[in-house]
Each structure stands twice: as structure tokens, then as C-alpha cells.
């Protein structure tokens, strides 16, 4: 059409006079709609089960807001401190108030830059035995108006008005109690039972009386204990011993109600007199932290906001990363060496034999992972099949090889488990290479070895690439095998992630490690794309 002169400037019309483009769009709309409908479920699946959790993981690995909720006044004032000498009375007062008083929950805007240390509300004391009303209103007068309580009331009424079976109503009521606490504090797992009870009976208009404030005080007190516990755990990541310091001093400080706080706190626990603990607090000031990431590579912030190595006895992760990388590399290379000839056999044997071989390859795939690992334990242990055989063949009994609960065991078992991931992509590529190429190469004068290296192998590269990437990615995050046969020096980073998720509950660190793994894999993918090209990869 480009060479022929334009027949008319008007758009092309169909026989009915409708513009061709409109007609085309209309005819395509149905199939487009159908295509979208087909794509939608996996898209939702991907979004819900993959992208959102990963996003959550990423935010969790840098999230440091909790401690900012706990210590608003301290963090607002710590900038004035010289970071070298022991802080003055005002900073001691600030941390005392942050840990023990409830004022931070009652002041409407108390987070981050909005904190005003000069506000007298911070220093209003709420008498422990009550009455609470006047003191709380003195902290923030908005509490005396019913409108401040209305949103809390609404949350409570969701629980009260719940329909359904008794069990369902009970669940709704408990959820409402949690939601009230989540509204008042940064905590999602504290429950405000007393407020819930009081607000149930409220009409939503009359002025809140002492019972309201009583409930508020009690619920916030228990929530605060919770928050102190959590944030002291976080402080402990910054400097070991912080948790016990907070625990011990908050117990003793209950009796202290008068300034000067500095002497009282140092008396309660002399670690308050150690500048190092205060310097650690400085590193937690920002609501976003890179501390977890630094921790995951054995580094930390020091008081002058510089990155430095962890003390020698706390350096574990760098070695683990290196070991994880090494194991993945050895497993990948081992799999490649073992898989290549098998894949070649699979692709070239007559169908009858290759089918049997294929079943042999796939059989372990269908067997439970646990069963396979236990089978390997039987093989590898000191009194196991391999050692017994070696002893029978003349190995001295006392020289039995240690092949389990160490590096070797992890590598051997992982190679066996991941082998099919290498065989299958290579096989699928080899299957498509006609035997003619090898013949042609030899006919042109190449020895079988050169023909293989220069003609056959380059054509299997897409399969090798796919297999290598697949095995390496699976190996680098592997968890169950090292857990069962790894022992002390066969542990990988995956085991550490699991440990911090399940045992130490340091999710921030676990998330940071996970994110580093993810970044590593993406980088690998990128490098592969640069060198080989991702469109060259054939997964089957």
C-alpha cells in the first residue's frame, strides 16, 4: 500500500458504512474480554500470594516505627545530646516518661517530627490510683468531648452488634477489642477489654465520665507493658543486654515518681550510666532502618552513624552467606556434571530404554522429600551403608568417613534432590537437536570430541542455562535438607531465616535476609540475561 497513491483521505469503511477500525475493534472485543477473563485468576493469585507478601517482606525489613512509638520524647530530645558524655537529667526524664507514662498515647500527635518536648502535657502525672479523668483531660483536652470517643465507640459497636452463632459473635467481640487497641496504640495484638465493656453501654452522646477514663487508663497500661516488651527486644538487637536493662529498671522504677530521674535510674540499674546504651538508642531514631540489612551481613551503625563490623563473637552471617553461595555453586556444578550425560542418554536412547530411564529420573521426584532425606541418612551415617561397605573393603573401622551432619552431607543430598531440575531442561533441549549435526561435524573433519564441544554443546546451552539458574535459585534458598542433614557446619542462610521467623521472632532480620536472597537471585537473573540472554532459556 505504501507505493500506491492514496485513493481517498477518508477512513476505510466496511460494506455497511461503519469505519473499518470500529468494526475491527468490535469484532475483537469479545476475544479480548475472554482473554482477560482467562488471565485474571492467575493474576489475582500472583498478586495475592506473591507480590503482596514480598512487598510486605520488604517493608518489614526496614520498618523501625515501633520503637518510635515507644520513645517519642527521647528521640525528640536525643539530638541535643553530644553522644560522648553521659546524658543530662532531661534525657533521663524523657526516657523515664516514655517507658512508664501513658501520656504519649493521649497526646493526639506524638510521632516523629511532630513531637514537641516543651509541651507541658508530657509531664502531667496521672495518679496511679485515680481519679484519672482530670489528669487525662489536662494532657489533652479533646478527651472530654464525646466526639473523641465516638470512633472508639463505633469500633466497639461492631463487636456488640455482631450477628451469627455464639462463636461468631464471640470472635467479633474479641476482634473489636483488638481493634480498639490498634486504634489507640501501634499494637495490633493487644486487647482493650475494659474499654469495650464500658463503651457497650454508652449512648454515644453523653459526656464521658470517670469510668471511661478508668478503663482507658487500665487498657493503655497493659498495652504499654506490651509495647515496652516489644521495643526492648528491638533495642536488644542494637545492643545485647538492653532488654534485661529495661525489664529490670521498669520493675524498680515503679516506686520512683519524683525527679531527679537520673540518679534513680542509675541506682535501679547501673547500666543506665553506660554511654554505650545511650549511643545505641541514637541508631534507632529513624522510623526506617537499614540496621536489619547491616545485621544480616555482620555490620551495624555506630554512634557516629558510620557502618562498622559487629564484634567478632557476633559475626555469623557473612560466613553463612559465603557458605550458602559455595554450597549452591558446588551443588549446581555437581548437578550439571551428573545431569548432562543422563540427559544425553534420555534424548538419544531408543524410546523403550529412554522411558525406563525417564521413570528412574522422575521416581525420586514423586517420592516425599523427607523420605528421600531419611534414605540418605541411612546411607551416609557412621554406621551406614556406605561406611559399612568401605570398612568391608578394608577401611579401618576407626576411620569411618563423617558424611552426615556436615557440609559434605548437605552437598550430597542436595545434589540428589535437585538433579531432576537440571536433567529435565537439558533433556528437553537435547531432544530437539537432530543427530545430523554431529554427523555433519564429523563429516567435515571434526573428531567426535571437537564435534561435541563446538557443535553439540553450544546448542544445549539454553538448557544448561535454564538448569543452572533453576538449581542455583532453589539451592540458595534451601532449608529442609541442611536442617536435617546439615548439622552445625552444613547450615545455610535459609535455616537462619527460619530460625528468626520461628524461634527468635526477629522478623525484621529474617525479612532483610529474605530480601537480600531475592536481590541476589534477581541479580543472577540479570547477569544471565546480559551474558546468555533470557530469551535463550528453555525450561522445557
Amino acid at each position: 500500500m505504501t507505493n500506491s497513491p492514496p485513493v481517498s483521505v477518508q477512513p476505510l469503511l466496511t460494506a455497511d458504512g461503519i469505519p473499518l477500525k470500529t468494526s475491527l475493534q468490535r469484532s475483537m472485543r469479545r476475544s479480548k474480554l475472554r482473554a482477560i477473563c482467562l488471565v485474571l485468576p492467575p493474576l489475582i493469585f500472583l498478586l495475592g500470594l506473591f507480590i503482596i507478601p514480598i512487598g510486605n517482606l520488604l517493608t518489614r525489613s526496614t520498618d523501625d516505627t515501633l520503637i518510635n512509638y515507644q520513645l517519642p520524647l527521647t528521640f525528640a530530645m536525643i539530638d541535643q545530646w553530644d553522644r560522648k558524655t553521659l546524658p543530662e537529667e532531661d534525657l533521663f526524664e524523657a526516657i523515664y516518661l516514655d517507658l512508664s507514662s501513658l501520656n504519649k498515647y493521649l497526646i493526639s500527635d506524638n510521632f516523629s517530627d511532630a513531637v514537641d518536648p516543651s509541651d507541658p502535657a508530657w509531664r502531667v502525672r496521672i495518679p496511679k490510683k485515680g481519679p484519672y479523668r482530670d489528669a487525662m483531660i489536662a494532657i489533652d483536652p479533646r478527651w472530654q468531648s464525646a466526639s473523641t470517643w465516638l470512633p472508639i465507640h463505633e469500633i466497639a459497636m461492631v463487636g456488640v452488634n455482631a450477628q451469627g452463632t455464639e462463636r461468631e459473635r464471640e470472635n467479633k467481640a474479641r476482634r473489636a477489642q483488638f481493634n480498639i487497641c490498634a486504634y489507640l496504640t501501634p499494637l495490633t495484638n493487644a486487647d482493650c477489654t475494659k474499654l469495650y465493656k464500658v463503651l457497650q453501654a454508652w449512648d454515644g452522646a453523653s459526656a464521658p465520665d470517670e469510668t471511661f477514663f478508668n478503663a482507658l487508663y487500665k487498657d493503655l497500661s497493659s498495652a504499654n507493658k506490651f509495647l515496652v516488651g516489644k521495643s526492648s527486644t528491638r533495642m536488644n538487637y542494637g545492643k545485647p543486654g538492653f532488654k534485661s536493662l529495661i525489664k529490670k529498671s521498669s520493675r524498680k522504677l515503679k516506686k520512683v515518681s519524683e525527679p531527679p530521674y537520673r540518679d534513680a535510674m542509675i541506682k535501679a540499674d547501673k547500666r543506665w550510666g553506660d554511654v554505650a546504651f545511650w549511643q545505641t538508642l541514637v541508631t534507632m531514631q529513624e522510623p526506617q532502618t537499614t540496621g536489619y540489612y547491616l545485621n544480616a551481613v555482620d555490620r551495624k551503625w555506630n554512634k557516629d552513624h558510620e557502618i562498622e563490623l559487629q564484634p567478632a563473637e557476633r559475626r555469623v552471617y557473612a560466613m553463612l552467606w559465603w557458605r550458602t553461595f559455595l554450597v549452591s555453586l558446588i551443588v549446581t556444578v555437581g548437578c550439571l556434571i551428573l545431569a548432562y550425560p543422563v540427559a544425553h542418554l534420555l534424548a538419544t536412547l531408543p524410546l523403550r530404554y529412554s522411558n525406563i530411564l525417564m521413570i528412574c529420573v522422575l521416581m525420586p521426584f514423586w517420592t516425599s522429600l523427607l523420605v528421600r532425606i531419611v534414605a540418605w541418612m541411612v546411607m551416609l551415617q557412621q554406621e551406614g551403608v556406605i561406611n559399612d561397605t568401605l570398612v568391608m573393603l578394608g577401611l579401618p573401622d576407626e576411620n569411618r568417613l563423617p558424611m552426615m551432619y556436615n557440609f559434605t552431607g548437605t552437598v550430597i543430598v542436595m545434589i540428589q534432590i535437585l538433579l531432576p531440575f537440571m536433567i529435565l531442561p537439558i533433556y528437553s533441549v537435547m531432544k530437539t537437536i537432530p543427530p545430523n549435526y554431529m554427523k555433519a561435524a564429523q563429516n567435515l573433519g571434526a573428531t567426535p570430541a571437537i564435534a561435541f564441544l563446538r557443535v553439540y554443546m553450544p546448542q544445549t546451552l539454553p538448557g544448561i542455562g535454564a538448569g543452572v539458574i533453576l538449581v542455583f535459585i532453589v539451592a540458595i534458598g534451601y532449608y529442609i535438607t541442611p536442617e536435617l542433614v546439615g548439622g552445625k557446619d552444613g547450615r545455610l542462610i535459609g535455616n537462619m531465616v527460619a530460625y528468626h521467623m520461628q524461634k527468635s521472632l526477629n522478623w525484621g532480620l529474617a525479612a532483610a535476609m529474605g530480601s537480600i536472597l531475592l536481590a541476589g537471585i534477581l541479580m543472577l537473573y540479570w547477569i544471565y540475561d546480559k551474558i546468555v540472554g533470557i530469551d535463550n532459556m528453555k525450561l522445557g
Binding site: 537432530p434 545430523n436 549435526y437 554427523k439 555433519a440 567435515l444
Partner: protein
Amino acid sequence: MSDQDFFVRFIKVQKSYDGETLVVKNLNLDIKKGEFITMLGPSGSGKTTCLMMLAGFEPATHGEIYLGNQPINAVPPHKRGIGMVFQNYALFPHMTVNENLAFPLEVRRLNKSEIESRTKRALDMVQLGAFGNRRPAQLSGGQQQRVAVARALVFDPDLVLMDEPLGALDKQLREQMQYEIKHIHESLGVTIVYVTHDQSEALTMSNRIAVFDDGVIQQLAAPNDLYERPENAFVAQFIGENNRLTGFVHSIEGNHCQVELDNGDHVQAFKVNVDAVGDRATLSLRPERVEVNPEPGKFPNLFEAKVEELIYLGDHIRTRASVCGHSDFIVKIPNASHHAALNEGDIVKFGWSMEDCRALDVVEATN
């Protein structure tokens, strides 16, 4: 001609894949230097197996193969120095055209400038000088074919094998390539062994054609001999079109015989491979050698025929008629200015000479 003059010799070669059936039965074939020889036959006739044995990809079960007076049974393929064009070209897909052509030179450790000049020469020979940096997948079928030919020739082999190299091309391109390969053969003087199942290809290009069937060479002859003087019924039927009349040998005189057809008519024929009076025989007669309404006395064989069907084919008119009890008797009437004008249902006379009607053995008719 002594044995020493032959470049390739198959001596009593047999081949079996499973130890039960012979794919190639007692093959003897001598090929002269510079000859273009074609192995022609239906699929499964053993022709490709012979080629593979010559290239070294299949070992001969029995017998000897000589190349330039050296027995090569024990020589691995890469040491035979034979060029080959494969059925689907087998151009290495991960290499450019230049790299494909340089491959045989590189494995022979030629120096760089030599490789470059030879590659260029070979590419120019097949008129693809500008395509050196393309990958095979970026070329058309015909271009790939040329590259394959160039690659088989680039290292100056004395013998080039071609295994149905034109099978994947369309008709027009195939004919063009036939001439090109023929010209390359003539200008380079290499020996070419060519395998095909396409008889027109074989007739166009070859010096000699070996017609294969059932693992045996049925006839080895020059194209015109093969067409004009088939030695048995299979060859007569396989090469070109052919009318077959069956009957018994009635009498034999010298190199002529008289055959009594199944309907009782007697035909004078040229005796080729019938042995004795009373044997079954197949008479083979080319459709273009039959004359319609000939002058009386011109031919010893003159029979009445009924025209059943006329098909206009431009240069000739294909006529199907009933003659001597056969209703599928074909005659090609040339579309010359004075050709006989026939109508369906006409009764006419068909005549043919004794020399054109060849008395052959009987094949178990399969088609």
C-alpha cells in the same frame, strides 16, 4: 579398464541393522573419478544406507568399501575427507554462514588468511558473497541449500555425497538448483554420489544412475540407456511412464521373441530378460513410441484400439485406450500441427516397432 581406475568401490557389501533382514544385499558398485552417480530408488530401497556406509556413519556388515584404492571400513568419518550435503542441510544454527564454512577448515588447522580466502571463494561460487554474517535461520531454503553445498566443497574434497539435498525446495527452485549443482560438478571435476527418489532429478544431473530396489541395484546405466533400455520390469516401471502388457513367451528367435498376451493377441518384442518359451513375461512400451493409424506395413505390431479418455496437456494429448484387453493403455500424441484428431469412443489402429517393445521379467505388481 582395470580395477585401479575406480575411485570408489563397493565390493560385496551387505548391511543389516537387526541381524535378521538385509537392507543392502550384496552390493557391487564401482565409481570413476569425476563421475556424477545417482542412487535412485523408492524409500526403503537401501540407497541412503549405502551413502551412510560410504560416509562412515554406518559400518558395513559384510564386504569392503574402497576409496582411492584404500579400504575405508575401519576409517572413522572425520578422517575420510568426504564432503556431504545432508537432507535438511545440517547447517549449524549457532554459527553464521562464514563460521559454518570455516568450520571444516578450522578443524584442519589451516591458517587464518587461508580460511578467509577459501570461505569467500566458496561463498562466491554459490553467489552468496553478501550473506556471510547471517545465521542459517535468516536465510531462505534455497540459500541454506547453497550454503550446505558450499560447506561440503570448501575443504576441496575429492568426493561429495548428497542425500536428497533438494527435497525441501519447491519445484522451480529445485530445477534451478539441479543445474547449479551440475555446473559446479562440471567446473570442479569432483566425484559426486547423489541420492534421490526423484527420477527427473536423477535423469537431469547424472552421468550414471544406479536404480535401487529391495537392497539390490536393479540397473546401473547412463540416463538415456536407463530410459530407452530398461533391463527389468522394475526399472521400466520406475523410470518414466510405461505401458505394461502381460503374457507368455510363445517363441524365441535370436534377440526377438513372440509373446502371446492374456487375451490371445500375439506381439513381436525385443527379448531382454526372458529365458524360455512358456515363461511369463511383461512387455514394456513407452507411451510416446506408439503411433496412431500408422502406414500399413510400417510396424509388425498393429492392433485395434478404442479411445476411452483424452486429456489435454498442452504439449501433448494423453490418450487412454483399450488395447489387447488392457483398458489402461496410455499413448502420448504430440500436439504437432498434423496430429491425429481423436474423439472418445473412436476405434483406431495403434502400431509400434519390435525394438520399442521390450520383453521383461514379471514383477509382483504392487501398483
